[in-house]
Symmetry: C2
Subunit: 179 residues, 2 copies
């Protein structure tokens, strides 16, 4: 533990065709690929939507949907269900896929599902200041944490009351129009 | 560069709740999340499907669909188009999303699109021994490289001639049935 500061250089590994971060200390190659954020628009029985007021940075104090980085060893839908459990103490049932949002600028792919509360219990988890169930008109649209929260809410509203629809595909917020 | 062998220990970082690999040399925390494989079932104008015989391990000599690890700074659909270009020298147009396959065992999420060839030109890229356009009945089903190739082909066939359908959602090959 001579040096606790990682020191990476940008070089092309011998069997590769693009620049990767390589540790100057130990030669470790950090293959960085886009990360998946898994989340859900969760409806209560009366149609209200589950939202969480963030207790952590970035965007502490702003409202979000339950969502977070997918972990190894789980499916995308299991990741969305885990985040609802962690952030809102909520058990959810996945209905279908709502949207996939590529955000190349920050190398994220955000995948949202439609889901319903399996039971009425919700409570703020450690990463939430509070949780709430909102009618559409009550959603604090001017206090949303991230653009993708708005995209998911809009895509949910466009599909309200329907089933069997394809998810919205957006890149940096812009819809990918099917041919 | 005293030591070119990375030496990672499995420990829980102070602000985390699960074990991560931490470099003993420099303290680098290797947050490993599932990787995205982006691919496409690409149709020629006459309905034949573009397939590639792999020239690299794993599964060299077996047949696959153009697909590979998504890179930072691109969208999922752009990743699928890049892989078709690299593996089959093919320019493609994305039609819609075909399937999303979570494979927790190997921490991958494979996302396939339906696409069409933008022009008739195809040729083997450096990772392919050969490329071919197959009618459904001609596909070498007993020489497929990976289970997900079969899933994508089956999900494509189930949607043939239709539009506006939701993608198949599978976890380790098993369909996620919508509620």
């Amino acid at each position: 533990m001579a040096d606790l500061n990682p020191a990476f250089s940008n070089r092309i590994p011998s069997d590769d065709d693009r620049v990767r971060q390589i540790c100057d200390h130990c030669g470790f190659i950090d293959y960085v690929n886009p990360k998946i954020v898994a989340g859900a628009v969760v409806e209560a029985e009366d149609g209200r939507i589950l939202m969480c007021k963030r207790a952590i940075e970035p965007r502490s104090g702003f409202w979000t949907l339950p969502a977070g980085y997918m972990e190894n060893g789980e499916s995308v839908s299991d990741g969305a269900a885990r985040e609802a459990r962690e952030e809102a103490c909520a058990e959810i049932e996945i209905i279908d896929m709502l949207g996939m949002y590529s955000i190349p600028r920050i190398s994220q792919v955000q995948i949202f599902f439609r889901a319903r509360l399996a039971n009425p219990h919700i409570a703020a988890g450690p990463e939430s200041q509070e949780v709430a169930l909102y009618q559409w008109e009550e959603i604090p649209m001017n206090e949303l944490a991230f653009p993708s929260v708005r995209w998911a809410l809009e895509d949910w509203r466009a599909r309200k009351g329907t089933t069997g629809q394809p998810p919205a595909l957006r890149t940096q917020g812009v819809d990918l129009k099917p041919y």
